[in-house]
Point group: C2
Chain length 207, copies 2
DNA sequence: GATGAACTTGACCGTTTGGTCAACAAACGC
DNA sequence: GCGTTTGTTGACCAAACGGTCAAGTTCATC
């Protein structure tokens, strides 16, 4: 997707600095709420200098977004049709949770974009994302058909995994306001809860 | 909270028109992304006229937020300690889901605010909201202690209910992109899934 | 260490933004 | 009807915004 044009050391370093700063700003302010001055300031660069590396505010944003989409679906692609269904789905949930935990800014950037109607990635959603979820849903359905999973709607199962895992990144302020945790410890509890939630939901009943 | 000052017919009508238009705009653009011109245009009023009824853009926004917070917690307050635990919690989830379904704009407004750090409602979260959730968590814990619910972390249970129900309002574009539903029918499936999810999770095992 | 390419930035520009104001129009109370 | 309150708006303002540019500085290469 992103072609690897020749880059000097300085280019590489500064582009990374800018993208990191922009991720901070965009994820907490949204596209329109973010300003080039904020980004430049967060990157400790002058505004014209930022625009020397990226042609526009929009260009920085779309670069972040496409980088993100590339990796965001990896956990789902890693579902193994040959594995144990419950283990696979719980493991998928764990990978997704881990991503929200390690990349909360990316999660919030994505959330901001979607909540506001996803004007820039609507094609990605209707195309590649839909295809991948459709494929996954068929796999889950086949597992259910084989009696290896309790019957559930595969699509809504996937949605619920997305919702519950991303919640801890996207609604971090709310979670922290209620749990008043120190550090990250509450996320271990969250993961344990989610493992229980999905294990109980997916385990077939004996009769 | 909002004191009822004397209002003429015109005031009442126009304030409502403005708030409704502003909800449209704020919920889909965020606070910073929304402009007074958009709001005025959506309300079919001139910009100075909008500012005749509200002292500032911020005033419109905070009015919407405080109206919202008032009603947003009602479903949780309606939990009945004397009812059947599973029925009560599933009914709570249903009420929450119904709110997201009927008031998706409000849900997105809230989501926007929280994702961006909730600068204006951080006190509400750390105060009243935390108290209410703490109280609910104790109730759930007592139900578990009495063996009437399968053991789960009460806080994360509540978070998961919030996450899964709001998801359908906040991430509507994504859900629709994948399911390509006509109308609202997919939300019935979603609700059925969530009932299953929480029933299975909360039902105590016999042994 | 000279030369050209890569990098940096203060000053600036046009537009958009939230908000004001004075002047006018409608509605209300009598 | 008539005066006063209430409602309405075009014109305007200062600040903030995304983006440009010319002039300067640093860097790699020979």
């Amino acid at each position: 997707m992103t072609e690897a044009r020749p880059q000097t050391r300085i280019q590489k370093k500064n582009r990374e600095t800018i993208l990191d700063a922009a991720l901070d700003v965009f994820s907490s302010e949204g596209f329109r709420g973010a300003t080039l001055d904020q980004i430049a300031s967060a990157a400790s660069l002058s505004k014209p200098n930022v625009l020397y590396y990226f042609s526009s505010k929009e260009a920085i944003y779309t670069e972040l977004l496409s980088e993100l989409l590339d990796t965001w679906l990896d956990p789902l692609r890693a579902l193994d049709p040959k594995g144990d269904p419950i283990d696979e789905l719980v493991a998928y949930m764990r990978r997704k949770f881990e991503m929200s935990r390690q990349y909360p800014r990316e999660s919030r950037l994505f959330a901001n974009e979607i909540v506001q109607g996803a004007p820039r990635i609507v094609d990605e959603i209707n195309g590649p994302l839909k295809s991948l979820v459709d494929k996954t849903a068929k796999l889950i359905q086949s597992w259910i058909h084989a009696g290896r999973l309790a019957p559930v709607d595969p699509y809504h199962l996937v949605f619920s995994i997305w919702a519950t895992t991303q919640h801890y990144a996207d609604f971090d302020v709310q979670v922290r306001g209620i749990l008043t945790p120190e550090g990250d410890s509450h996320l271990d509890d969250a993961e344990a809860f989610l493992v229980t939630l999905y294990t109980r939901t997916l385990t077939p009943t004996s009769n």
